[in-house]
């Protein structure tokens, strides 16, 4: 046996007897290090004849492969046992609490506005907005409610000037006029927003939210109005059928005007929408009054259509079982956490409105 073979066997033997990765590491240098067995044997090749060289080189390579395999096996074996040992010692009590995380919430009114927008998006409405501060003209006069009209009494208005020329809008209807004035028919919009009336009790807050709807084209009739609201209410409450009642009413800016009630019943203290023999008023609507169209530079002989106004807060209360209107604005930490929505829970018409 050549010296090389002997050495190789010795190392092979040593390697297989190694007890831990440290020992293997030492042997590794003896074999594969700069001056280890393999390298020093290769260095010797230069002195040999071509034939010898070839034979010897092949032998070294075989030995190298051989040793490498044993070495890798050994390493694998040790690292596994060592990991096993370490893992054994590393046990923790995973029932201890996770790291703190905070989940933010979207206010139910914002969520409901998104739901409404998603529903109306499906039938081609786009979202418009108007200013919170309005002039008396846009809030009343342009909406066919001239000064000294008793209908103004129905709105307890907050004024910003003694002469009552600027005010906080009492409804979202001024957006109708503003939208029509800046564009050309057809119009198909919804306008959600803050509205204000100086009224504060169990069921009224000085600020609340309304949604205005407006659809003007050449031949939009009360049939379209009915169809649109029926579609909306069904989608919003996520029910297959809905009981709805149109009652004639009066708003200066629509004619004919109607108030819409939906049927409901109370079961186990919970309100069930769409069935039952009780009626709940949820919105006002009608055909846009020709005077409003005129004031908005739309020819009432060519165009007609409907408008509606819905109390958003009321809808949110009904859908999500919130009893107290005032609680929406009290920012109670517990309330916000309980009634708020996960920010990732975005209402869409392909996923659906609610989780």
């Amino acid at each position: 046996m050549s010296d090389f073979a002997k050495l190789k066997n010795e190392l092979k033997d040593k390697l297989s007897k190694a007890q831990n990765s440290k020992e293997v590491d030492v042997i590794r240098t003896e074999i594969f290090g700069k001056n280890g067995l393999i390298n020093s044997e290769f260095k010797k090749l230069g002195k040999l004849s071509a034939d010898e060289k070839k034979r010897q080189a092949s032998e070294i390579n075989i030995a190298k492969q051989d040793l490498t395999k044993i070495f890798n096996d050994k390493i694998g074996e040790f690292s596994n046992t060592e990991i096993d040992e370490r893992v054994k010692k590393e046990k923790v009590d995973v029932t201890l609490p996770e790291k703190d995380f905070r989940i933010g919430k979207i206010h139910p009114i914002s969520q409901v506005i998104d739901e409404i927008s998603s529903i109306f998006s499906e039938i081609g409405f786009s979202v418009e907005e108007g200013p919170d501060i309005e002039t008396e003209y846009y809030n009343f006069t342009a909406l066919n409610t001239p000064e000294n009209h008793p209908a103004r009494d129905m709105h307890d208005t907050f004024y910003l000037e003694e002469n009552m020329k600027t005010l906080l809008r009492t409804h979202t209807s001024p957006v109708q006029v503003r939208t029509m004035l800046k564009g050309k028919p057809p119009f198909k919009i919804i306008a959600p927003g803050r509205t204000y009336r100086s009224d504060s009790d169990q069921t009224h807050t000085p600020m609340f939210h309304q949604l205005e709807g407006l659809h003007i084209d050449k031949n939009i009739t009360m049939g379209h109005l009915k169809g649109c609201l029926n579609y909306f209410i069904k989608e919003f409450f996520e029910v297959d059928k809905i009981k709805m009642r149109f009652r004639p009413s009066h708003f200066p800016f629509t004619e004919p005007s109607a108030e819409v009630d939906i049927g409901y019943k109370i079961e186990n203290d919970k309100i069930i929408i769409g069935e039952g023999d009780k009626w709940l008023e949820i919105l006002g609507c009608g055909m846009v009054h020709p005077n409003v169209l005129k004031n908005s530079k739309v020819d009432p002989n060519k165009y007609q259509g409907f408008a509606f106004g819905i109390g958003i807060d009321r809808l949110a209360m009904l859908k999500y079982g919130i009893n107290d209107l005032r609680s929406f604005f009290e920012c109670d930490y517990r309330w916000l956490n309980y009634y708020g929505f996960d920010p990732l829970d975005v209402p869409t018409n392909y996923r659906g409105l609610s989780k």
Binding site: F101, R102, G104, K105, I106, I109, S110, D114, S117, G124, S126, P131, D132, I133, E134, T135, Y138, N148, P150, F158, Y159, L160, E161, E162, M164, T166, L168, K188, R194, Y196, S198, P206, M207, M222, G223, H224, K226, G227, Y231, R245, F246, R247, P248, S249, H250, E255, P256, S257, E259, P290, F328, F329, C331, Y333, L336, N337, G340, P343, L344, V346
Partner: protein, 782 residues
């Protein structure tokens, strides 16, 4: 507007039930608000039980009774009845009720130092018998009825309507009957031809003055002599009570009765108290009078007054005065039935803040043709009840009443409503409502009844038609699923994104009032104009908010008081920079209170939100200039490098305002404006696979030197090679001069074209050192 079915039947022949009538009223636009039993003078007396009768501490003959009246708590009543004792069932009269025997109104009083809430009644006090010795003793069968009415109520229900402002005609029961009749609910009973004997001319001269904006255009009157005013008969009292009014005397009750019956306000003067003739004229500034509500009113110019030689008697169409008021001993009355202009009447009442049933009607528009009918009906009733003789009616006219006539294209009804309605049906509906159709061809000539001041145009007629035909006849048209425009515009998309982006960082969204307390707001107003609300709901909500902080901090504190110390709240909404429409901006504002939070925590929240909204970190720069409500040393502003748009502020709220709390504000319009001007197209991604190297440096700079500037200096040297600069340590203290600090940073160097060798790396490192040393007056720390 209240009425009973019983009263309705004076005008409508119908066999419909109350429930059917209510449903019909709702479906024709006369919304039923409430249905309740008729109240009468006796409905306040309640069956009660004395739980405990104790001796009055200061009076031998009185007792202190603790009475169960069917409510949670016992009521204390001082009682003189010798038979008052524990467990006695009896009749209780609450404060406010009127004792039938002596017509005294009960009040809460102290009797010998003890408060008494109401009274326990004897039979004689209730006019049941002459027995006045002790209080009523009820047998044990009444035990189950404690808290209920003692007197049975058979008077039926009162139906209360909420009448919309366009329908003054339905402020009278006859108008309601007319609507029901037009809807097929029976026949309207013709007004009886009243024949009362009228003797002589009305002797009091009525002068309708020619004034500018004279509100009174017709003044009808008659004199009724030798009456005997008295308490109204029971049937009349009952009806007055059903209206929710208090019976006063026959004359007053009758004028009220006619007002609610025919929607025809009247006024009765004691004619013996009128000094000479009557003049209807505009008031002069400074005139005053005492009205029937017992208040003194000072008048302005141009208010319509009824006056005599001595001065103002009453405000036309609004309220009469005490000086000429009728009393039980009144002998001769002047009855007025007039027409007052809606707008002028409303203006006057508004200025004086005066409300009355008459004003409510005149401002909505009264039938000018009802003047005579009103006089007839009232005079007839007065003579019947009080006796006396009537003069002929006197009418003073300033204006002739001409009927309004409209041309109406019946096809328009179908076009608006969306269903075909035959012309015959249209004509029938309108005629039943009292409209007169003169020409029944293609275009109808429609004469408007004088009681319908709300009908101005064709659209009003269409409303009448569908209202009576029924909204349930309209066929629903399925909405078309076609979109002409994107649902949300660019700004709204960012609003939506910002809202959810901030919430996803653990903030709870709040919605707070757009107004706030000026005292808190002034801390956040800076130099924005204060916008006061003229008529605030309360003095602590009296200005429009200049910032979202006032309300957020207020509620944050409230939650701390509730025991929640760690919280993050935010709001997205308007703040106001002026008092004109549109002078508002949209702000996203977050407040965060948490242990171990520092300014970099809040900075992370705002910067990450901006990045999520599409602003790259390298597009913004941070500055230390912030509004005064931030801690001056621990706050910053964020501005875009290009366009210099202010995107927001962040930092610790000034400790004078709140203890260690952090907040940020993002100005949404600015952000969207910036993004609009700097639209980015996503370019094809190219990344380098050549080796990258990190080099660490530490520079000693002046203490107030901004880290941001150091990053900018290095980044600007060669952005084809310098891919990232990251600060990992800032050190002050030992080995560093006291006015200096050391900033340690890691620079990532990578080429897109080759693997950099030692020489390349050294070259760029040298460049970094020399640039920083030169531009930042820094020294490389060795």
């Amino acid at each position: 507007m209240r009425f009973t079915k019983d009263w309705l039947k004076d005008h409508l022949k119908t066999n419909k039930t109350e429930a059917q009538i209510i449903e019909k009223l709702n479906s024709t636009g006369l919304e039923v608000e409430k249905v309740e039993p008729v109240k009468n003078e006796l409905s306040e007396f309640i069956i009660a039980k004395i739980v405990r009768a104790e001796k009055h501490p200061n009076a031998d003959r009185l007792k202190l009774c603790y009475v169960d009246i069917g409510q949670k708590e016992l009521t204390k009543v001082v009682c003189g009845g010798p038979n008052a004792k524990d467990n006695l069932l009896t009749v209780y009269a609450p404060p406010g009720s009127i004792i039938p025997k002596n017509k005294m109104k009960l009040e809460v009083t102290k009797i010998r130092g003890e408060k008494s809430y109401g009274m326990l009644c004897s039979e004689s006090e209730l006019n049941l018998s002459d027995e006045s010795e002790g209080i009523i003793e009820l047998n044990q069968s009444f035990k189950k009825k404690i808290g209920m009415n003692y007197f049975k109520n058979n008077s039926g229900n009162v139906i209360e309507l909420s009448v919309t402002p366009n329908r003054p005609d339905c402020l009278g029961i006859r108008g309601i009957a007319r609507d029901l009749s037009a809807s097929g609910f029976g026949k309207l009973i013709e007004n009886k031809n009243i024949k009362i004997k009228k003797i002589g001319k009305q002797p009091i001269k009525i002068n309708l003055e020619k004034n500018k904006n004279q509100a009174c255009t017709i003044f009808g009157s008659c004199l009724i002599r030798n009456i005997q005013n008295k308490e109204s008969p029971e049937w009349l009292k009952k009806r007055i009570l059903s209206l929710g009014l208090r019976p006063i005397s026959a004359v007053v009750d009758i004028t009220n009765y006619v007002m609610f019956d025919l929607n025809r306000p009247l006024h009765a003067y004691d004619s013996d108290k009128i000094k000479k003739g009557i003049t209807v004229r505009n008031s002069k500034k400074g005139e005053s009078f005492k009205a029937l509500d017992n208040k003194e009113y000072k008048l302005d110019d141009g208010m319509c007054v009824i006056s005599d030689d001595e001065g103002v008697l009453g405000l036309g169409g609004i309220i009469g005065g005490t000086r000429s008021g009728t009393e039980l001993n009144t002998k001769n009355i002047l009855l007025e039935s007039a027409y007052f202009d809606p707008i002028i009447t409303r203006k006057t009442a508004k200025k004086l803040q005066l409300n009355s049933d008459a004003k409510f009607r005149f401002e909505r528009g009264i039938d000018p043709n009802s003047i005579s009918a009103g006089l007839e009906k009232a005079a007839e009733m007065i003579i019947k009840i009080c006796g006396g003789t009537v003069t002929k009616f006197d009418f003073q006219n300033k204006k002739k009443i001409l009927p309004k006539i409209l041309s109406f294209d019946p096809d328009l009804a179908s076009k608006i409503i969306g269903i075909q309605i035959k012309i015959n049906e249209i004509i029938k509906i309108l005629e039943n409502l009292g409209f007169n159709i003169e020409n029944k061809r293609k275009i109808l000539k429609v004469k408007i009844p004088s009681w319908r001041p709300d009908i101005h145009g064709q659209i009003d007629l269409i409303e009448e038609i569908i209202r009576i035909k029924g909204f349930d006849k309209i066929q629903s048209v399925e909405p078309e699923k076609k979109r002409l425009k994107p649902t949300l515009d660019f700004f709204q998309r960012h609003f939506h994104l910002a809202q959810r982006s901030v919430a996803s960082k653990g903030y709870l969204e709040t919605i707070t009032w757009s107004f706030t307390d000026e005292k808190i707001n002034k801390n956040f107003r800076e130099n924005i104009k204060e916008i006061k609300i003229v008529n605030p709901i309360s003095s602590d909500l009296n200005v429009l908010r200049s910032s979202l902080y006032p309300n957020l901090i207020y509620f944050l504190k409230k939650n701390i008081d509730r025991g929640f110390n760690d919280q993050s709240l935010f709001e997205i909404g308007p703040t106001f920079i002026g008092s004109k429409p549109g002078q508002q901006i949209t702000v996203i504002c977050g407040v965060r209170k948490e242990n171990n939070l520092n300014v970099f925590g809040i900075k992370k929240d705002i910067v990450q939100t901006l990045v999520e909204m599409g602003i790259n970190k390298n597009e913004i720069s941070i500055d230390t200039k912030t509004p005064s409500y931030y801690h001056p040393g621990k706050s910053g502003s964020i501005t875009t490098k290009k366009d210099k748009q202010l995107l927001g502020y962040f930092g610790e709220i000034h400790p004078k305002i709140i203890d260690v709390t952090y907040g940020f504000e993002i100005f949404l319009e600015n952000l969207v404006k910036y993004k609009n001007h700097n639209k980015k197209n996503k370019q094809t991604l190219i990344f380098s696979d050549y080796q990258k190297s990190d080099r660490d440096f530490a520079f000693v700079v002046k203490k107030d030197f901004k880290a941001q500037d150091l990053i900018d200096i290095i980044s600007d040297i060669d952005n084809s090679l310098i891919k990232n600069v990251k600060i990992f340590d800032v050190y002050e203290g030992e080995n560093i001069p006291s006015d200096k600090k050391s900033i340690a940073l890691k620079v990532t160097i990578q080429s897109d074209f080759k693997t950099l060798n030692e020489k390349d790396l050294n070259e760029i490192s040298q460049k970094i050192i020399s640039n920083v040393e030169e531009k930042a007056s820094a020294k490389l720390r060795s």
